[in-house]
Structure formats: structure tokens, C-alpha cells
């Protein structure tokens, strides 16, 4: 009951006129920043942090958290309408969101994303409200072996994502992981894999560079070549009745993905080293595995949009948990929020809930209000985003190229990275021609910087014995599931061969 009373006070605080205005402004700004390829919640929160010194700390964190929420909703918009994931958290949304848009069903994809995000955010907020201290201590028991086992599980789901050609999928995963290793060895600090001795590689290869190259340039070239320049697949019509019917369809065909994403996203989100990207990817993989119609995934399944979108919102709420209760940021954005809290004179950690309960519960209350505001604002802007798809392709295509290049520079501030985007784009075009799945490479470059250090730390802990991943109580079962998933295609192939031989 005490929790409910604190929560009621928190919601009342969030509903104060200044806080409500900041929530609406934050969500709207975040939505547009998140929709821009190359810019994500971290840019929005970092740029607007100085503005928050004009208002009290309670209102400041509410504003920044609203930007975070808005950007999470916004990431889906460029994934669906442009086919370019606006942020790493929205990579998996592209798999089914873009095919839906190409079928003229962008509205269904965007409505599904908005509703799933709302449910994911709300479920996570309820879990946050009820179990914050308990979950924080559970998350702390995840050491490097557990996190690596989780990454292994994520890679295992990639094998399922890549279709039938396992060698090509494995190549794509390994390529993404090697590209993530370019730059410096984080443990010894020595330069590593500086390809062709070009200094630009010392800075490493960012996820966004590969993602924009593959989806912004390669995918567009492929689409133009395949359709002979006459893309006629999008003719979306937007009416209030149509949106209602889309909402109904999203609820019917996307509930399962939403439920899976909401739960997996939250639990992956609270792990200090993980965050929304592995959460959204794993939710997509698990939703596909549990689906009765997995063949629909990748071709425009509402469940395939709902799972990653509910997961990334759920995880963004979850990642606030270690930040507030332990002072450990779960993502780059929460790291900036943490910095803001320190500047405002607050000390994150276990005492925060006791010493600054008004601040904490005001923030939790604002999660509920921000979620509702984000849903309403997002739905209101969907006609604008869908309108973009009505443009002739000969206008939309150059705009996508321009946003890719400009967004790529905004993210990395390096001409070297722009050339890499072009090289990746042209390579992706040729690889795509020969059925190489490229999504696993993009996802691997995101997870590589988490997987490698945790593997090396684990092996250091065990003096080089890989059994550490099988003998620990949490890591063991996760590793076993991952191994089964990796071996599953081989078992299927053998069974198919047996049946073929019998016939």
C-alpha cells in the first residue's frame, strides 16, 4: 500500500502544469530526433541537458526521460518509412516494418509499433514500481559469464534469422563481430585490426556506419535495380477509420510479440551491460521461434514489429533501474542522465529511494504519463510520416541518400566514415545479390563490444577454462539453450535428408 501512495504522489507531481508541459515537449522533440537516421536518444538528451538547469531537478529528469521515451518511439519511424534503423535499438524493427511499408501497410506497422511501445513501456513501469530493489540485486548477480551467455543466445537466434543458408549467416555474424573489433584492443590498449594501415580505422567502425551503408545505400540500390526504378508498392491511405482498423489488427496479430518483447526487454534492460538493443533483438528471435507461422517473419509480420518495439521501450525503462538504485548506467543515455543527476546534487544509489523519495517517485510517475503522451503524440503524427511514402520514388530515393550521408556524418563527424558508408553500401548490394543475409552483420557489430570483453573476462576468471559458461547456475542453462538453438538447423537438415532418402 505504501508503494501505491508513493506512486499516487509521483503521478500527481508529474501532472503539475510545468511537468506536463515538459513531458509533451520532451516526447515531441524525442520523437523527431529518434526518427532522424544517425541521431538517437543519446544526442537529444546530451544536447538538451544544459537547458534543464533552468528548472528544478524533478522537472529536469522528467523532461530528459520524456525525450528518451519519445526517441524510442521515433526510432521505429525511420525503420518503417525509410528502411534505415534510426538507432541500434530499432534494427530489428526494420525486418518486418519495412516489408509492411513496401506492401502499402506503413500505417499498420507504425500503429503496431506505437501500441507495442506503449504496452512495453507500461509493463516495464509496473514491474519497475513493484520490484525495483529486488530486481536491482538480481541484476547484480550477472557477471561476465552470464552476460556472454546472453550474447551467445542472441547470436544463436541470428542463425534462425538468416534463412536456410547457414554458412552465409555465420559469415555475416563473424564479419560483423570482426568489424566491431577494429580500432583498439580495449584491454591492452594497443591498436588492433587497423585495416590497410589507414588511420581512420583507429577510431573503430561504428554500428551506424554499417547500418546506414547496408540499409540506406545498399538496400536502396538493390530496390532500384530490382524494381527497374519503378517502385509502386506504396500507396498508403490514411483515414481515422483506417487507423482504428489498423489498431484492431495490431492488437490481434501483434499481441504475442508485444507480450514477449515487454518481458524480455525489461529483464535484459536492467542488466548493467546489456540494454535495449540486445533486448529488442532477442525478443524478435524468441517471438519468431515461438510463432506458429515463423515463415511470415521478415515478410511483414505485425508480431515482428511488435516484439522489438515493445522490448526497446521496456528495456529503456528497465535500464533506469540500475541507474537509480545502484548508480550503474545501463546505456549511453542513462549515463548522461546519471551525470545530470550528479550535477543537480543527487547521489544515485540505494539511499536515493529513501533520501530523495519525492524525486524518484516523481520520475516513476512521469514514466506512466510520458507513455500515454508518447502514444497520443505518435499516433497524431503517423499521417505525416505515412504521407512521406506517397512521394514519388524518384524524390524519396535521393532524400534517403541525403539523410543517410548527412545523418552518417552527424553521428561520427568523420569523412572517413562517409567513405566507409559508401563502401559498405556497394558491398551490401553485391552480397544481397547472392543472398547473403546482412541483418546479422549489423546486429553483430552492435553486440560485439559487449560480447568480446565479457568472453575475455570470463576466461580470465576461469584461467582459460571454457566450462565456466556451463557450470555457473545462471550462465549454464542460457548457454545450453544457445547451443541447442545453434545446432537446431543442422538437426532439421539431417531430418530433411532422412525423409528425402526414405521417399
Amino acid at each position: 500500500m505504501e508503494v501505491m501512495s508513493f506512486l499516487a504522489d509521483g503521478i500527481l507531481l508529474a501532472l503539475e502544469p510545468i511537468n506536463l508541459a515538459l513531458i509533451i515537449a520532451g516526447v515531441t522533440v524525442g520523437l523527431f530526433i529518434g526518427a532522424m537516421p544517425g541521431l538517437g536518444s543519446v544526442n537529444g538528451v546530451a544536447i538538451l541537458l544544459p537547458i534543464t538547469f533552468l528548472v528544478p531537478p524533478n522537472s529536469a529528469i522528467i523532461f530528459l526521460a520524456a525525450i528518451y521515451y519519445g526517441a524510442m518511439y521515433g526510432g521505429a519511424i525511420s525503420s518503417v518509412t525509410l528502411g534505415i534503423p534510426g538507432a541500434s535499438t530499432a534494427v530489428a524493427t526494420t525486418f518486418d516494418g519495412r516489408p509492411l511499408a513496401l506492401q502499402g501497410r506503413a500505417s499498420l506497422a507504425l500503429v503496431t509499433a506505437a501500441l507495442a511501445s506503449f504496452v512495453g513501456g507500461t509493463v516495464a513501469t509496473v514491474l519497475f514500481t513493484l520490484f525495483a530493489p529486488v530486481l536491482a540485486s538480481t541484476a547484480l548477480s550477472f557477471g561476465p559469464p552470464e552476460i556472454f551467455a546472453l550474447m551467445l543466445l542472441a547470436f544463436a537466434t541470428f542463425v534462425g534469422l538468416g534463412g536456410d543458408d547457414i554458412p552465409k549467416t555465420v559469415f555475416s555474424i563473424c564479419l560483423g563481430l570482426v568489424l566491431a573489433a577494429v580500432g583498439f584492443d580495449t584491454i591492452s590498449g594497443e591498436p588492433r585490426m587497423v585495416l590497410f594501415e589507414i588511420d581512420g580505422f583507429m577510431r573503430g567502425i561504428g554500428f551506424i556506419v554499417l547500418a546506414i551503408g547496408v540499409y540506406g545505400i545498399g538496400e536502396m540500390l538493390w530496390t532500384i535495380e530490382q524494381t527497374r526504378g519503378e517502385v509502386t508498392t506504396t500507396n498508403p491511405k490514411m483515414t481515422a477509420k483506417g487507423m482504428m482498423s489498423d489498431a484492431k489488427e495490431a492488437a490481434q496479430r501483434g499481441w504475442k510479440g508485444t507480450a514477449i518483447g515487454s518481458l524480455i526487454g525489461f529483464f535484459v534492460g536492467i542488466l548493467p551491460a546489456a540494454g535495449a538493443t540486445p533486448g529488442s533483438l532477442m525478443s524478435y528471435g524468441v517471438a519468431k521461434m515461438l510463432s506458429k507461422t515463423p515463415e511470415e517473419y521478415g515478410k511483414g509480420s505485425p508480431d515482428g514489429v511488435a516484439a522489438p518495439e515493445s522490448a526497446n521501450n521496456s528495456a529503456s525503462t528497465g535500464s533506469m533501474l540500475p541507474m537509480l538504485t545502484l548508480g550503474i548506467p545501463g546505456s549511453p543515455t542513462t549515463a548522461i542522465l546519471l551525470g545530470g543527476m550528479v550535477i543537480w546534487g543527487l547521489t544515485p544509489g540505494p539511499r536515493l529511494f529513501i533520501d530523495q523519495s519525492e524525486f524518484v517517485w516523481g520520475l516513476i510517475g512521469s514514466f506512466y504519463i510520458s507513455n500515454i503522451a508518447a502514444l497520443v503524440i505518435n499516433l497524431a503524427f503517423i499521417p505525416l510520416f505515412v504521407w512521406m511514402l506517397r512521394m514519388p520514388f524518384t524524390i524519396l530515393a535521393p532524400l534517403i541518400f541525403v539523410l543517410s550521408i548527412v545523418g552518417g556524418f552527424a553521428a561520427s563527424r568523420s569523412i572517413h566514415d562517409l567513405w566507409l558508408i559508401v563502401i559498405f553500401g556497394l558491398s551490401a548490394f553485391f552480397l544481397r545479390k547472392f543472398d547473403y543475409p546482412l541483418a546479422p552483420a549489423v546486429l553483430a557489430i552492435v553486440l560485439g563490444p559487449i560480447a568480446e570483453p565479457t568472453l575475455r573476462q570470463s576466461l580470465l576468471l576461469s584461467s582459460g577454462d571454457p566450462m565456466i559458461f556451463l557450470t555457473r547456475p545462471i550462465a549454464g542453462p542460457i548457454t545450453v539453450i544457445a547451443i541447442i538453438l545453434i545446432l537446431l538447423p543442422a538437426v532439421k537438415l539431417l531430418r530433411r535428408k532422412k525423409t528425402f532418402a526414405k521417399n
Partner: protein, 167 residues
């Protein structure tokens, strides 16, 4: 397509070999007290790439992949033209950034694409080619405080004028 696939596999195998060699610049084994060396992770992954190339070559040999069964040409004249006109224009776009600034390159690229590839009217072409770079300038320089490349010195008067407006 059949010849194209094995050529691509060969190129990727060569790239994998290069990565294997590159990864050995740092220790690839276990160092007592320090754990796996810096080259350990990329070495095994690059080896994984090479092995998957060999598996792809085996599938090609057994004609198990769709491309290995296809007698069609890898790309027809339209495909090569697309790659040249569209892919080439993107390369030129990035090349122009260091000369005429990011915003100048955006304007030139849009002008070329909309007018010569899209065959849109001069009015629409000029409206989009001029308004989008200006919009992007205000968004990035004034709102997001991100400076884009300004090209060679001859673009400076235009930038000075724009900065006078926003500051």
C-alpha cells in the same frame, strides 16, 4: 550468376585470410594472468569467416544454392547502368563534400538526381535542391549544434551569411 557466386566466395575467402593475418599482429593465445590476447577474438572469428566461405564453396560445387543453379547473367545492362548512375552519383556526392561543403554537395546531388534521373520539372528540382540544404543547415547548425564540413575557402561568404542569421 553461377560464376559470380564462386568469384564472390573467392574474394571473401581472400579477405578472411587477410583478417586472419592482421589479427596475428597481437597475441592470439592465452596469456597467463592477462587472459586471451588482443588478437584472440578477431582471429577465431576470421577463421570462422574462412570456414563459412569453404562451406559456401562446397554448396556451390554441389549446386545447392539458388545462384549456383542459375545460368542468368549476374546483372543486365539496366543493372550496370543503375549502379553507374545512382551508385556513381553517391560516390560523387561524398567526394564533393570536401570541396563545396556538405550543404553544397546535397544541393548538387539533389539537382542531378531529381532533374536528370527523376526527370522532374526545373521548378520542383530547384525548390527541393535549395530548400532542403537550407533546412538541414538550420537543423544541424542552429538546433543540434553540429557543424558540417564547410568545403574549400570559397564557400565561406555563404556560411558567414547563414551564421549571421542564426546568431
Amino acid at each position: 550468376m553461377r560464376q559470380g557466386e564462386i568469384s564472390l566466395v573467392g574474394l571473401l575467402a581472400l579477405f578472411s585470410l587477410y583478417l586472419i593475418w592482421k589479427s596475428t599482429e597481437l597475441p592470439i593465445g592465452y596469456i597467463r594472468g592477462q587472459g586471451p590476447g588482443g588478437g584472440f577474438w578477431p582471429f577465431w572469428l576470421a577463421l570462422g569467416m574462412l570456414l563459412s566461405c569453404l562451406a559456401s564453396a562446397w554448396k556451390w560445387w554441389r549446386t545447392q544454392s539458388p545462384a549456383s543453379r542459375s545460368d542468368e547473367p549476374f546483372m543486365d545492362a539496366f543493372g550496370w547502368r543503375t549502379l553507374l548512375y545512382v551508385g556513381g552519383s553517391v560516390i560523387a556526392f561524398v567526394g564533393l563534400i570536401s570541396i563545396v561543403s556538405m550543404y553544397g554537395a546535397v544541393a548538387v546531388f539533389l539537382l542531378y538526381y531529381l532533374r536528370f534521373l527523376g526527370r522532374h520539372s526545373w521548378f520542383l528540382t530547384l525548390a527541393i535542391s535549395l530548400s532542403l540544404p537550407i533546412g538541414l543547415f538550420f537543423f544541424f547548425e542552429a538546433v543540434m549544434l553540429i557543424s558540417m564540413p564547410q568545403g574549400l575557402s570559397f564557400t565561406q561568404p555563404a556560411f558567414d551569411l547563414m551564421y549571421d542569421i542564426i546568431y
